[in-house]
């Protein structure tokens, strides 16, 4: 089903790759290939399935089970290209974790603007890691609420190929995380 929907989404661009059964994954594979992705979910089964789906497209996946751990790993500078974040988690939800990450990024960006650049960021003008909400409940994660917490969009859980492609394409084609 995933492959069928991807093939539909991609309009048969991947004719070369449709041999040996790998249909339509090439474009999403290219977008995600070797990208460092962090997945945040308190549910270990969801974490495993999301990891499997993203690895299939060649992403290098790091899993964490809490918003606090995500904040630690996403404290800039870091080497992650994007983050998939569960909304509903105990202790700290995905919206709050994202807000805190954005505060840290702004602090660093201000330092960079002032010329106070840590050596790791010498070729970076502005930090902003794309963060996508993952939610089983679309009502809970309205687009506005995601934007308010400075998330970049959302994907439904469990992952659905066409939607994942659309969202990932949006931020990897339009803005490079390292600008």
């Amino acid at each position: 089903m995933l492959e069928v929907s991807l093939r539909r989404a991609l309009g048969g661009v991947d004719k070369v790759h449709s041999k040996n059964g790998v249909i339509g994954n090439a474009t999403l594979g290219n977008l995600l290939h070797k990208k460092q992705i962090i997945v945040v979910d308190d549910n270990i089964v969801n974490l495993k399935v999301a990891e499997g789906a993203l690895k299939k497209y060649g992403a290098e996946v790091t899993c964490v089970d809490s918003g606090k751990k995500a904040i630690t790993l996403l404290t800039p500078p870091h080497s992650f290209h994007a983050c998939f974040m569960d909304i509903q988690m105990p202790e700290m939800d995905g919206f709050e974790a994202t807000r805190r990450i954005r505060v840290m990024e702004r602090d660093l960006n201000e330092r960079i603007e002032c010329g106070d650049v840590p050596p790791e960021c010498s070729n970076i003008q502005r930090w902003r890691t794309p963060i996508l909400a993952m939610t089983a409940d679309v009502i809970q994660a309205t687009h506005e609420e995601c934007l308010k917490s400075e998330m970049d969009g959302y994907v439904s859980k469990p992952f659905e190929g066409e939607q994942l492609y659309r969202e990932v394409a949006r931020f990897f084609q339009n803005h490079d995380p390292v600008e």
């Binding site: 492959e3 969801n46 469990p158």
Partner: protein, 112 residues
């Protein structure tokens, strides 16, 4: 020969899981994640993880439900977890049962 017979048996078993509504298309997604050969054993790994986790949650739920005063918020939180993981593996019957169960939790009705 033996391998072919086993494979046929496996396919028949999987077909019956779909036919009975035990699993849905999400289970098929898991199979497809494994089918390109890059991650053999992926389905088994995820399903084992799911069963162990479900076992843990059900133990916690029975403890909670035995209390003289049932903390329905806690019960609801556990059922929410089980609903999430059953949706992820495509365990459709478990997922539907969780959804019903949560509705009853919200009504705070122990008989449900």
């Amino acid at each position: 020969m033996a391998a072919a017979a086993l494979r046929e048996q496996l396919n028949a078993h999987i077909a019956s899981m779909y036919a009975s509504g035990m699993v849905d298309e999400q289970f098929q997604q898991l199979q497809m994640l494994q089918d390109d050969g890059s991650s053999p054993g992926f389905v088994a790994e995820v399903v084992t993880l799911f069963c162990d986790d479900a076992d843990r949650i059900i133990t916690e739920l029975s403890k909670l439900l035995e209390q003289p005063t049932v903390d329905f918020d806690k019960v609801d939180a556990y059922v929410h977890q089980l609903k999430g993981s059953s949706a992820s593996v495509g365990a459709q019957k478990v997922k539907f049962t969780c959804m019903q169960f949560r509705q009853l939790c919200q009504d705070k009705n122990r008989d449900g």
